[in-house]
């Protein structure tokens, strides 16, 4: 489609507008106020995040997107309580976040399951830690495994599962604690394209059926538009909020919407924000200069 024919990403249909009105009436779960993070590095003081301001409503699906080095991982790690911030506030239900806790579930990109526990025991880990009885924890775990479609693999060890299945377990393990918000740090980044799109649809299904709010980090524009109600676009050096986009693509979402005008308009806007006019390459990339010499017969051309 010619970009000139696209509607503005700001145009919302009646249904979408009504939906955002409803979302905005819900209570705020997570509020981030003027969040900043500085740290010392061998190159001097680095400002990873500056003046981050946003809030997430109950059962809202928010994606965070930005170029590499924009601090999106740092942001979610601060929200999870795994890292400290140097200024501003993070409020969950109005209370400041001071460290990791069961009220925030986290799904990591990497392999985070406990390899020594079976799938079921991985999911039981949270409830048992919380002082629930074994039987009760087991019942909960099986329920959640059923929900992510892995009830048949309850007694398998994580290494016996595929990457997609492991992330399903990780989601079940986070949700069994019934967190107020589910933080997801590029959870599907390591999966192949097919598994990834399956997992995206599955995540939407879970989110629709469960009282959970999702904050999802990704660098994949399609993924962000497909999943999110709102997209928080960050820019790098320092990490700042560039724009908060209300995704005009109506729900229920399906992969068929990838070519709708709203979808393409939003994507065009995201691309404009994330890949502006080519920036000078970072120094370490400039230092890499391949010196190509011909190592095949001169007549043996491949192109």
């Amino acid at each position: 489609m010619n970009p000139k024919n696209l509607p503005s990403y700001l145009d919302q249909s009646e249904a979408v507008k009504a939906r955002f009105d409803r979302i905005n009436q819900r209570e705020t779960i997570l509020e981030v106020r003027d969040l900043g993070k500085r740290f010392r590095s061998p190159q001097g003081e680095v400002e990873a995040l500056r003046g981050i301001d946003f809030s997430v409503r109950r059962r809202e699906f928010v994606c965070v997107i930005g170029p590499s080095g924009c601090g999106k991982s740092t942001l979610i790690r601060i929200l999870a309580g795994l890292e400290s911030h140097t200024s501003g506030d993070v409020l969950l239900d109005g209370k400041p976040v001071t460290g990791p806790g069961q009220d925030r579930g986290m799904v990591f990109q990497g392999y985070s399951l406990f390899p020594w526990l079976t799938v079921k025991k991985n999911v039981m880990f949270g409830p048992q830690l919380n002082g629930r009885g074994r039987d009760e924890a087991e019942r909960d775990a099986l329920l959640w495994l059923d929900l992510v479609g892995l009830d048949k693999f309850a007694d398998a060890y994580p290494h016996q599962l595929s990457g997609g299945m492991r992330q399903r377990v990780a989601i079940a393990r986070a949700l069994v604690n019934q967190p107020r918000i589910l933080l997801m740090d590029e959870p599907f980044g390591a999966l192949d394209a097919q598994t990834r799109s399956k997992m995206q649809s599955h995540l939407i299904d879970i989110w629709k059926n469960i009282d959970v709010t999702v904050l999802f980090i990704t660098h994949d524009l399609d993924e962000a538009i497909y999943l999110a109600d709102r997209i928080l676009v960050l820019k790098a050096h320092p990490g700042e909020v560039q724009e908060v986009i209300e995704v005009p693509v109506p729900r229920p979402r399906s992969p068929g919407q990838f070519n709708t005008p709203e979808f393409l308009a939003t994507k065009a806007r995201l691309e404009e924000l994330i890949h502006p006019a080519p920036e000078p390459e970072p120094e370490d990339e400039q230092a890499v200069q391949p010196h190509l010499i011909r190592m095949t017969n001169v007549t043996d051309n491949v192109e």
């Binding site: 999870a80 309580g81 795994l82 460290g99 990791p100 806790g101 069961q102 925030r104 579930g105 986290m106 990591f108 990497g110 392999y111 985070s112 399951l113 406990f114 390899p115 020594w116 526990l117 880990f125 949270g126 830690l129 919380n130 060890y157 994580p158 290494h159 990780a170 393990r173 986070a174 604690n177 933080l183």
Partner: protein, 319 residues
């Protein structure tokens, strides 16, 4: 081309067993060649008839050159020529002699009064190893895990341990005797000194290698303080910890001989030195091999137990 060198993963079990057995058979074959083929090495002559040589005796071992000289001498003087067969030096008994000694060592009581029996000596040595390794592990394993998990603890303990591990354990022999007496105390102490410091560093390193994501995941699930250690760090490193312990147990064995020489000689070392004194080198070899068999055998058993204990440990699939 590289796949040839990395293909141990898909080498089938039969071929692997065959190669494993061959790795033992090859040295044995060399030993047999040297022992049983008369023209391989055999630098000595075993005298069966001294002939006219006045200082030769039956069963004497003399150098080949010397024997040839005497044969020439006797021929020149028209005296009886000495007779003998090529033989190896006394310190290299043939495999069958060692096998016999091995069998005798376990079945028959020793012939000399002041010499301990092989099983009793071995049992004593095993006890020394056991206590030495146990004491070392009781201190070393928790200290290692703590040093590896908590930076503060690691910074506080590791520099000193790093220094101490360069001090050779046997150097503490005299000190250990002065403090702990002449019997088993100092021997156990030497094994502890030899093992402990390596143990702390190795286990600290293993603890540090636990995936950070796993610890972070546990923290986001609400794990804190001691539970992080007991429910996440320890189970997470357990298969590697077990492997470390197996290597360290082998380490402890290598300190055994030195340890047993301290104070009153005891155990298998005492057996070996006594047998060597009587030139029963077949017994010496049998005893040395028994140490090897016990060490290697126990490690094989522990490895097998490890596979049962840690079904999730994938590094074991690659053996």
């Amino acid at each position: 081309m590289t796949s040839k060198w990395l293909s141990s993963v898909d080498m089938d079990a039969r071929k692997r067993t065959l190669l494993g057995i061959s790795s033992f058979l090859l040295p044995l074959l060399v030993w047999c060649l040297v022992s049983y083929v008369p023209f391989v090495w055999h630098p000595k002559v075993h005298v069966t008839d001294p002939g006219g040589v006045d200082y030769f005796q039956v069963d004497m071992l003399v150098d080949k050159a010397m024997f040839a000289d005497e044969v020439a001498n006797m021929e020149r003087e028209h005296l009886a020529v000495p007779v003998g067969q090529s033989a190896n030096p006394i310190y290299l008994p043939a495999p069958d002699q060692v096998a016999k000694a091995f069998y005798n060592g376990f079945v028959n009581p020793p012939t000399q009064k002041d010499v301990p029996s092989m099983p009793a000596s071995l049992w004593h040595s095993i006890q020394i190893i056991f206590w030495g390794f146990l004491i070392s592990s009781i201190i070393g394993v928790p200290l290692g895990i703590l040093s590896g998990t908590y930076t503060l603890m690691g910074r506080l303990s590791e520099p000193f341990i790093e220094f101490f591990r360069y001090l050779p354990a046997p150097a503490f022999g005299a000190l250990a005797v002065a403090i702990l007496g002449i019997y088993d105390g100092p021997k156990i102490a030497i094994i502890v000194i030899g093992t402990l410091f390596q143990q702390v560093l190795i286990i600290a390193n293993t603890s540090r290698k636990l995936e950070v994501t796993i610890i972070e995941a546990a923290r986001t699930l609400g794990t804190r303080g001691f539970k992080l250690l007991s429910k996440v760090v320890v189970p997470g490193i357990l298969p590697d910890l077990y492997r470390d312990q197996r290597i360290l147990l082998g380490w402890a064995w290598t300190y055994l001989i030195v340890a047993e020489l301290i104070g009153t000689s005891s155990g298998i070392t005492w057996f070996i030195t006594q047998q060597a004194r009587y030139q029963h080198f077949d017994n010496v070899y049998a005893a040395i091999m028994t140490i090897g068999i016990i060490g290697f055998g126990s490690d094989l058993l522990l490895a097998r137990a490890g596979r049962r204990l840690f079904p999730w440990d994938r590094t074991q699939d690659r053996r």
